[in-house]
Amino acid sequence: MEWIEIFDISLVRSLLRSTAPIAIVGLAAAICSAAGVLNIGLEGKMLNAAFAGVAASYYTESVWAGLAAGITAGLVTALLFGLLSFTLGADEVLAGLAINIFSLAGTTYLMRTIWGQAGFFSDPRIVGFEPIHFTFLEGSFLEPFLSDFTYSVYLMFFLAIALHIVYYRTRLGTAIRATGENPEAAEDAGINTMRIKWLVTIFSGALAGISGLFLSLENLTMFTEGMSAGKGYIGLVASSFGNNTPLGTFGASAFFGLGDAIGIRLQGVYELDSRLILMIPYALTVVVLILIGIRQRLKVRPVPIPES
């Protein structure tokens, strides 16, 4: 099989599937960064939600209980972060890092202690999300592009558009952007920046939680130790690359998703070690970071010297 043959419908589907988890957590990162909150703790929120979702689904055999549990886990973790950073004055980066370490160890601990399993936990009792089949699209041209995806893909589109509208067409969105760029101007205009920061923290906690949930309850229904594998950080980089805007973040996430999807397909063409394929998202992240750095440097416009 030639490498060019990998560019087919199946790649598009693979692309959307790979993009979704990063896009959703990326949007969570974007909205936080837009308000000036550096949320390193997204990894932890994803992990906690992934775990809570699996646990709830396992005990209740209901995927919706899993959804609720996951979102709650994300929210609670976000509350912890807000409490530490805003109320108790801890450094945002340190708090986020500590939360990530805490969550990794905590979820691993719970999995090993409660279920006695190490490495991963899987059980037929865990109910996951089923892909959605749109009957009205059956047989139409759009079917392969839009049907039979899992919830995360549809949610990603919805969120990107919805957040875009909120950002640019609502008072809340404007307030968020003002808080992030110039808190003094925002306060001066009567905006309560503390309330905005809390709001974005909580909301992004829920979003990160949803993203984590989809990791453990969508394509595979199981919990693996450390399963977020850096997606929280990649989301942060994606949002930074996308200038913290919803559509920009979506685009940047798609870039990562594309790399991921191509890598997986190429594995079929060339016999590449699976580990090298897995490295692709991270290598791409480093490349993107370099690009962001270069872009930053170019922004500093050299001022003309009008010697009067």
Binding site: T170, T174, A175, R177, P306, E307
Partner: protein, 505 residues
């Protein structure tokens, strides 16, 4: 002109620990007039306006707006009363356009709950048109000129229905053309019934635009006049006060050979504007040269260029026989040039480090403090403690982190470090800012001592008294140039006021 009083501040007194910012101040502004509030740094003008705008509360006195007594304890109240303020530092969101900034926090909504940007843009353009300015609704503030940014700030106040506008040093950041444009705007505002209070130290502008002027000095009102019945000279003498400058006790200076020769120096500031425009300056060993002038006239950039913290754009800085105009701080220090910087906490000190670690910043690499890269901590302690004693640094021990010291003590650490290595040239910028009286004297004495021991000192200060008392020769800096060189013993305050206002002979 309508003689109704728009604002009346009566008997306002406000004290902060250590200083009385406003003392029994009476301030009256008539409706529809352009009233200038004038004074040097620290005269009390900002405090008075902060009280009017609700940022601060007076200890005594009352405020009447349009004849009715009001209590203004929050900015919101002031805004509701129709008072708008344009600060010296703009509060704009850089990536937003003018309308987005103007409507921030109270954007109009349409029937579906979304922001009605078109409606906002129209409303803003209408207001702008009414007052005679142009607004480009698509221009982001980060791409806009300072003049446009300022007009956006003014529009902000008008959008919030301000009738009384306070402009704080508005021309400080404007080019001459932009200043003219601003004045046109102000006149239109007044024609439309607004009242404008204009805080400035630039007397020429006062005479050009204002109807009346209140002069403040040291927290008190010195005079209220109509501009067509007074002169710059009179205003200047009100602004600056006492007849004669008090001098620090010192002997006659015995200047020897030239040590620093600045030739035609031009320096840009961080925004790309020209801050220093062709300055010539000479310093000899054994003299203290002072640079006087209100802050913001290029002094900061001048010092930065002389100490290697900013590149000079044009010109030479000859130190003995070498041009150090683009030298690094390391090189400059090697030449035994000491620098007491304006910014104590971020530049002059690392407040996370201990006192001794800050004290040895310019001597840590020399014997006996260190040998072959290793510290002799005993000698370091001795040295640090000696400096602590000599310079009267109030701290129980030198291991304390600098951030726990008072401002005055922190400054003493800086001074101790810089003056203790026997510098040939000391450049001191605002050296007694935030320092209490007793220690101010001590620092002045130390500078004079430097001079008497054959060193050279460049003293840059916005405190006129300080410069006139300590320096042997003073250059007055205004808008990037030195407008006049004076002998402090031969010039009176009123004269200085004129020079500081940019009036050359």
């Amino acid at each position: 002109m309508n003689k109704e009083t728009a604002i009346s501040l009566k008997n306002i007194t406000k004290a902060y620990p250590g200083v009385v910012a406003n003392k029994n101040v009476d301030f009256q502004v008539y409706k529809g007039e352009i009233h200038a509030l004038v004074g040097e740094n620290g005269a009390g003008k900002s405090t008075l306006m902060k009280i009017l705008y609700g940022i601060e509360q007076p200890d005594e006195g009352e405020i009447l707006i349009n004849g009715t007594p009001q209590v203004i304890n929050k900015v919101e109240t002031a805004i509701n009363l129709g008072i708008g303020m344009v600060h010296q530092e703009f509060t704009l969101v850089p990536s937003f356009t003018a309308p987005e900034n103007i409507g921030l926090g109270q954007e109009p909504k349409n029937s579906r709950g979304l922001v009605d940007w078109k409606g906002l843009n129209n409303a803003v353009m209408q207001i702008a048109k009414k007052y005679g300015f142009e607004v480009d609704p698509g221009l982001k503030m980060i791409d806009a000129s300072v003049g446009v940014q300022q007009r956006t700030e003014i529009l902000k106040t008008l959008y919030r229905n301000a009738n009384i506008l306070i402009l704080d040093e508005p021309t400080a950041v404007l080019t001459p053309q932009e200043t003219d444009e601003l004045f046109t705007v102000i006149r239109t505002l007044v024609d439309e019934g607004k009242t404008v209070i204009f805080i400035t130290h630039k007397l020429r502008e006062v005479m050009e635009i204002a109807d009346r002027v209140t002069v403040m000095r040291a927290g008190e009102v010195q005079g209220v006049s109509e501009t067509n019945k007074t002169s710059i000279t009179e205003l200047a003498s009100q602004m600056v006060g006492r007849e004669v400058f008090l001098q620090v006790k010192k002997d006659e200076a015995q200047p020897k050979e030239k040590i620093l020769d600045v030739q035609n120096l031009w320096v840009h500031d961080a925004r790309g504007l020209l801050a220093v425009k062709g300055i010539d300056l000479e310093i000899k060993k054994g003299e203290i040269v002072g640079i006087a002038g209100v802050e913001g006239n290029g002094q900061t950039e001048l010092v930065e260029a002389l100490t290697g913290l900013r590149k000079a754009s044009k010109g030479k800085v000859m130190y003995l026989d070498e041009d150090i105009a683009s030298s690094t701080p390391k090189n400059i220090r090697r030449k035994k040039i000491a620098h007491i910087p304006e910014d104590r906490t971020n530049t002059g000190l690392n407040t996370q480090l201990s006192i001794w670690e800050n004290l040895i910043g310019n001597s840590y690499f020399r014997k006996p403090l260190s040998a072959r890269g290793i510290f002799n901590l005993k000698k370091v302690a001795e040295h640090a403690n000696k400096l602590r004693e000599d310079f009267d640094i109030r701290a129980p021990n030198v291991s304390l982190k600098v951030k726990s010291l008072s401002g005055g003590n922190q400054q003493k650490v800086v001074v101790a470090r810089e003056l203790s290595e026997d510098p040939s040239l000391t450049i001191a910028s605002q050296p007694t800012r935030g320092v209490d009286i007793g220690n101010i004297e001590a620092i002045h004495e130390q500078l004079v001592q430097m001079r008497d021991e054959g060193g050279a000192v460049l003293l840059v200060s916005a405190e006129l008294d300080e410069v006139m008392a300590v320096a042997d020769r003073v250059g007055v800096m205004y808008e990037g140039e030195i407008v006049k060189w004076v002998n402090p013993k031969e010039v009176d305050q009123a004269q200085m006021g004129l020079y500081m206002a940019g009036v050359k002979d």
